[in-house]
Symmetry: C2
Subunit: 216 residues, 2 copies
């Protein structure tokens, strides 16, 4: 496999560093929607874990001679737009977004990480490690649906909306960053490879919706 351009690596670490910063923001905001102090503290702890990941990524960017703020800047608008257009209005919507949305993003970044040389591949895989959010979200959402079956339909709709927005935004980001596009095409081999990548991501998403007790 040919080495990716250094610019593509900086792009990927930059988008991830900003994604972790927005994940922090969002979890901190969702924490305030928590119905209990315990839930609020749990989300705050997860937000703190995202920041630890953010710090690892910015340190690596600095090591590579890149300015972290400059590396993040090209991606702020796309990620901010995504979050603005999918702002949860309830505690449960926040949890579904965190589980389904972050899961989808993590799968996508993991696929791209496979095309990176070390040590960046390991770094990306490490910062994508679940921070305990997944189990927490699944537990809370399933309990809520059991208590009130009508929630399932509404949350399933919300899950589909999240995926739609995520796909639209990702396509825009990749189209604007030749290095990232090149990395994906070269890494997957050809368009059929890209198709298989999308298949894998889609089926993992379906699995997550099912785990939550929602129709994909």
């Amino acid at each position: 496999m040919s080495q990716p351009e250094p610019g593509a690596v900086v792009d990927l670490l930059g988008v991830l560093a900003y994604a972790e910063l927005t994940a922090f923001d969002r979890l901190a905001e969702d924490a305030r929607l928590a119905p209990t102090l315990t839930g609020r503290a749990a989300l705050a702890r997860m937000a703190a874990a995202e920041i630890a990941h953010h710090v690892r990524l910015t340190e690596r960017l600095t090591e590579l001679g890149a300015d972290p703020a400059a590396a993040m800047a090209p991606f702020t608008s796309a990620l901010d737009t995504f979050h603005e257009s999918t702002r949860p209005s309830t505690w449960l919507e926040g949890l579904v977004k965190a589980y389904v949305g972050d899961g989808l993003a993590a799968d996508f970044y993991r696929e791209i990480a496979a095309f990176l040389p070390e040590p960046d591949r390991d770094l990306v895989l490490e910062v994508l490690d679940d921070t305990g959010h997944a189990d927490f979200a699944v537990r809370e959402v399933r309990a809520a649906i059991e208590a009130d079956r009508r929630l399932a339909g509404r949350l399933a709709l919300w899950g589909r909306r999240l995926v739609g927005e995520a796909i639209t935004r990702s396509q825009a980001v990749i189209a604007e960053h030749d290095g990232l596009a090149e990395l994906i095409i070269t890494g997957t081999g050809d368009l059929a490879g890209v198709g298989r990548l999308i298949d894998r991501i889609t089926s993992a998403h379906t699995q997550r919706m099912t785990t939550l007790g929602l129709n994909p």
Copy 2:
């Protein structure tokens, strides 16, 4: 020195645990007011450090056989009211609040910690350690005032308002928790001792305002 009642220790750890959780919230919120990505990430990192402190305190509460959520509950209303009534409207107001307000609170908690037995005394002193916020706030505020002298008057007024609100709220909290009141009176020895405690806290506050370049 007589041992404080176990209830007073749980009270103090409980109020601190909730104070750290609100500090997290507030720093996370202020981070969004940051004029640069670097400033935003710096505040997010400090917020994460507050959560690490929160976790230490809740672990100790559990060790003492107390339920962390129950230990925090009696203090949520007073602390929330304080933060609601002193919500910063600018990035600089947020920094002054963090430096002046958190400094004042930390001094007060440190004074009380001196009356605690180990290991709680050390734990409290440790979680009150500055998370790097102080230097950052001082640097940013001083630079802003140098660039625009008119800010000094407005921010000094804001600093005085913060102290007024903090004193009102603390008195209310102490009046409602006999264990805490007893701890302070017994610890300081008598009312003259309480007076000296207030003197020490006030002069440290004056020093912080001066450090920021503000009239106390």
